[in-house]
């Protein structure tokens, strides 16, 4: 890429400086290393790893995934190696990568979230935390933290108090008014907001007369959800004081530009990395092509669609 384009692509989110606005979405990029044979990790804006919990989690029984029109439904069950294994075994292997690494975290209780955040705070090589609040709150009978403003506030406040790292809060789309959630997590001290996580959905296998995945319901992702995600970013931008990161169905630079024009400072590429492990880099190249052709920069276009 030409010098001028490099500057035209650079963005900063909560002190995390990125060479371009493309991040990898949590749960779709493993712990980063798995992609080394297929893509240039150095050419990605930031790598967000699989969601980490205090203890390792085995995940759900299968089937865990099913394809849907232009998308997929998943209920992986947040399987992960646990925060300690990540810090000791995965993170050191990423230290030569010239791209910020952001840890995505979740918990079943507020104190779990705080403890995971604390452990990552002292780890070498973590540029920031992304808090996944789309997780059932065990103490509140399994109601998802991210669908209740008061619970979301508690989680984000606890994480904020446990770390000096930049905190990005990742919002669930499964709410009536996303602006209420934006205000709640900003009041709790988040530095940035990413959206959207997957949308709850269901697929039924009509021949067997039962749900297609073992968990019965799952999270919908991929191009099928993109218009919903763009709408939610645009609504969030109407009240947000912190930078937004747009997620949902991005497969090309043009898709990414929709989110940026709607008000996102950066974007994440998720399901597309399954179809092409080099997808994030290609999206960044597509954004570069767009800003070059329009003789402008990403920073100048954030929210340019207006209201």
């Amino acid at each position: 890429m030409k010098e001028i384009s490099v500057n035209a692509l650079a963005v900063e989110i909560a002190g995390i400086r990125m060479k371009n606005p493309v991040m990898t979405a949590s749960g779709t990029f493993g712990y980063g290393l798995e992609f080394k044979p297929y893509t240039r990790l150095d050419a990605i804006g930031a790598v967000i790893v699989k969601g980490l919990s205090l203890r390792p989690r085995p995940g759900n029984p299968g089937p865990r995934i099913v394809e849907t029109p232009c998308g997929m439904l998943n209920a992986i069950g947040l399987q992960n190696v646990g925060v300690d294994c990540f810090i000791n075994e995965k993170l050191p292997l990423l230290k030569d990568v010239k791209t910020p690494v952001i840890a995505n975290i979740f918990g079943e209780t507020v104190s779990d979230y705080a403890e995971v955040a604390k452990r990552l705070d002292s780890a070498q090589g973590v540029a920031g935390l992304e808090v996944n609040i789309s997780c059932p709150n065990v103490k509140a009978g399994g109601m998802v933290f991210g669908t209740d403003p008061a619970s979301a506030y508690k989680v984000v406040s606890a994480v904020r108090a446990s770390t000096r790292l930049p905190v990005i809060t990742k919002l669930s789309p499964n709410v009536t008014d996303i602006r209420v959630m934006v205000r709640a997590v900003e009041d709790a001290g988040t530095d940035a907001i990413s959206l959207i996580n997957t949308i709850t959905g269901m697929v039924i296998d009509t021949e067997r007369r039962r749900p297609a995945i073992a968990n019965r319901i799952g999270g919908l992702s991929g191009p099928a959800i993109r218009p919903i995600a763009v709408r939610m970013v645009w609504e969030a931008a109407s009240v947000a004081k912190t930078p937004l990161i747009g997620i949902g169905g991005i497969t090309t630079g043009t898709d990414a530009m929709e989110f940026i024009l709607a008000g996102a400072t950066a974007v994440q590429v998720g399901t597309a990395s399954f179809i092409d492990p080099d997808a994030a880099v290609k999206v960044a190249e597509g954004i570069n092509e767009y800003v070059t052709r329009h003789k402008t920069s990403v920073a100048a276009l954030v929210g340019a669609v207006g209201r």
């Binding site: 749960g27 779709t28 990029f29 493993g30 798995e34 992609f35 044979p37 297929y38 699989k50 203890r55 390792p56 989690r57 085995p58 995940g59 759900n60 029984p61 299968g62 089937p63 865990r64 995934i65 099913v66 394809e67 029109p69 232009c70 998308g71 997929m72 998943n74 992986i76 399987q79 992960n80 190696v81 646990g82 294994c85 991929g222 191009p223 497969t251 399901t271 990395s273 399954f274 179809i275 092409d276 492990p277 080099d278």
Partner: protein
């Protein structure tokens, strides 16, 4: 491991709904039992790649052949592709078969399209016997390729049109000696039955499994199967068919949950 576009040299029907796909891609190396993820459409629907075993190196060595059956949307689209068109190929992926110990009597058990990964295996382990279960004689035409390798082939067909009438496990009963090592690939009920028989006779048994896949490289965690009694740490309870497999020793799998 490569991520590239390969050109189609041929894509021809070789049996009822069975297609032999010749690609101008020659992987640097692949192990019998490894597979590729094929992108059957440039569009967004179907979105995900489809997994297919590598059947063999094309005669002349200019590419590889895949053998597939039309079962749904993705394979139907694939069957309509013409020579000269290009397809996204990601692979070779997975672990492939562990070779049998020297002197072992090798028994291959295939059901339907489960025949595919066993061909490159048979190519390396000459003389292994193939027990092949299909719906009817027409579906069993692929067996000719194994006979050319010098493999004795015994057939079981559901309609009795070739070999014994019934399931392939009928044939396995007679082959399950203690010095045997079993290599099986096929539908879930067949694999379950084979694993149970092998466990009963104390025979070593390898199975190649199939699961719906999104990534094929161990990152989406979508293709999980439950590990058997040997599953150790909590986060290893589930194994990924794409990256821990597709080949497992049958005792590694919880067949109750399969």
């Amino acid at each position: 491991m490569e991520n590239l576009d390969a050109g189609i040299i041929y894509n021809k029907e070789v049996g009822p709904g069975y297609f032999l796909l010749g690609l101008d891609w020659r992987p640097l190396a692949f192990k019998p039992g490894q597979f590729v993820m094929l992108r059957v459409s440039d569009g967004l629907d179907p979105l995900l790649r489809r997994p297919f075993g590598i059947y063999r190196v094309m005669s002349g060595g200019n590419g590889v052949e895949l053998l597939y059956q039309v079962v749904g949307k993705g394979t139907r689209i694939l069957s309509l592709k013409r020579p000269g068109e290009r397809l996204g190929v990601l692979g070779p992926l997975g672990n492939g078969f562990t070779m049998p110990p020297k002197g072992a009597r090798v028994v291959m058990v295939a059901g339907g399209m489960g025949i595919v990964p066993l061909y490159p295996f048979a190519h390396e382990v000459r003389g292994a016997v193939l027990l092949y279960g299909t719906r009817d004689a027409a579906q069993a035409s692929v067996a000719g390729d194994f006979k050319e390798l010098g493999c004795p082939v015994r057939h079981a067909t559901e309609d009795g049109s070739l070999g014994v009438k019934g399931y392939v496990t009928e044939l396995l009963k007679e082959e399950l000696t203690r010095d045997a090592v079993v290599y099986a690939c096929g539908p879930a009920p067949m694999l379950k039955a084979v694993a149970a028989m092998a466990a009963g006779s104390g025979t070593q048994c390898y199975v190649s499994l199939e699961r719906s896949m999104a990534c094929g490289i161990g990152v989406c965690l979508g293709c999980a199967v439950k590990g058997g009694a040997h599953a150790d740490a909590e986060n290893k309870l589930y194994k990924m068919v794409c990256s821990d497999g597709p080949v497992f020793e049958s005792k590694e799998i919880d067949w109750e949950a399969f």
